[in-house]
Subunit: 357 residues, 2 copies
Amino acid sequence: MAQKVRIAVDAMGGDFGPSVTVPGCARALERRPDSHFLLIGDEKAIRAELANHPALAAVSEVRHSDVSIRMDDKPSQALRYGRRVSSMWMAVEAVKKGDADVAVSAGNTGALMAMSKICLRMLTGVERPALACLWPTLRGHSIVLDVGASIGANASQLVALAIMGSAMARVILGIDRPSVGLLNVGTEEIKGVEEVKAAAAILRESDLPGLAYSGFVEGDGIGAGAVDVVVTEGFTGNITLKTAEGTAKQIRAYIRAAMSGSLLAKLAYLLARGVFEELRGKMDTRAINGGVFLGLDGLVIKSHGGTDSVGFARAVEIGYEMAQSDLLNRIRDTVAIAHRFESGSADPSNPPQEAAQ
Amino acid sequence: MAQKVRIAVDAMGGDFGPSVTVPGCARALERRPDSHFLLIGDEKAIRAELANHPALAAVSEVRHSDVSIRMDDKPSQALRYGRRVSSMWMAVEAVKKGDADVAVSAGNTGALMAMSKICLRMLTGVERPALACLWPTLRGHSIVLDVGASIGANASQLVALAIMGSAMARVILGIDRPSVGLLNVGTEEIKGVEEVKAAAAILRESDLPGLAYSGFVEGDGIGAGAVDVVVTEGFTGNITLKTAEGTAKQIRAYIRAAMSGSLLAKLAYLLARGVFEELRGKMDTRAINGGVFLGLDGLVIKSHGGTDSVGFARAVEIGYEMAQSDLLNRIRDTVAIAHRFESGSADPSNPPQEAAQ
């Protein structure tokens, strides 16, 4: 992609709106100078923030919207007052229309997913969207999905997650045939819920191109980097991600307390400040901010609602990376191939189940 | 309890058997000198280890068993060859017979649960066991359950977990009316799976004595100490616990690498070694080793299979604490009260669901 990456931003999304999203974009621009921004929301508020960031202002277009989606509204409510007119909808629509390569929002997850589904539609062969994140591990990064787009999954929906996650791993991690694990309570064959066991059987037997199924992964296998792609349904995935973030925050608080305690500790901190800064960077949950919606016919990135400009910048950068690597077309191709591969063999042996999960 | 706490130990359980369990008991004895041990398993192997721990030998009785339960066997297999004769069964049976106040095993979780259910039976009013753990938080400790005893839960099973968890919190944390949260993907009312929402309605409306229902808790609320008792079903609970442990291990590895890097970092480490030791203690997942089976008519503690003697000692100590605080009778009383309280009001509005989770 020789031309600039065009990023549509729901400037009103998240807990803080333009006061976080605009500085976030400015920060992302420093690291990704070939970006172009389409900032959508209350023009006055956006321009006020842009005044502090002339470099960003120079590569941004502002599109006015009167309507912001509230963080706590149900998707149906959000659609009622926000369809076509809200900053969130307009950001997604910019991708649909071809005005942007990717949309980024820190707004209400459910509303963003509903609007993205309606506006962009699903890729052929994909039932519903998933939210994928890059998870830092001791071996580098893994992709974990679904971290909250859809609650519950039957066996074929889990297999679809495996396929989309592997496509993302090929593009983002540069691994030709990524290893894929199903998140479960034990590594033995006997364990786990029925849907996960059924998905394991399909993945093992169908031997899909472009992914290497590696069996079950337990919770502590994620951070250890046991596999390149960790697959689970959105309830467990969301709780798992937030638990890991919470644990990192908790340990940061312990370190802060320990390092400000005794005089010796303070001295040690001063001596090795660079080391501590590096450590802080590694434990910074803002560094993994930015979930990628997979399965839609267009690129949409979800940032945490409560993040600051550093975290929002990271979400924008993830959007940039996905757009630049042409993730969407890669996923489209993989799904199409897997679909041809699967049809007739896996489907009859695994009718969609009524998963109450 | 003026007399000694009598602890029955499945000495063969876990990945390493007596070479970990016996030194573990010796370590626990140092901190809990009024313990008495019943060590069950291969007498020769146990005595060989005991030779190195004379203080433990002085307060231990050895009971021989030829049969050890393998870590990967299904519960049904384990029962077939291990019922009545295995070290695991005999440890649980010692509680049943009144020879011990509590049983501790690092063996196969499924087998331990199956044997405990058959041998000890469930408390009146409880359908099935749960595994509860003490989770260190920024505010102290919380109780999290179920971390892996039963997969999936309908609304009334989640309510039962809330009741048993609160009884444990009253005893162990000394909180009169512990706050209880349901683990979910969002704190808003609209979110989450049906069973969790139905359990929330029951807990809110029934206003059970002895617990204060506080709504939904997200994954990052656990470590923050948002509530005293976090309730979830065993699939998500087990993955959540292991993910947190994995994240702590990962960060320990980062710290180790950072501190052994530059000369300055090494010097800083030497200067503030005490601080780092303290920090290591706080992040040591072995400190939370030892899950408590709740709902059985007897006390059984499950240690991680792969732990070392430090971790096994902690599981033994947790057993000691539970026995000394008379956890079992407190839970029995609470369940009986809640049952009387619930019957007629909550039951008809919430028939058990066919939860596929």
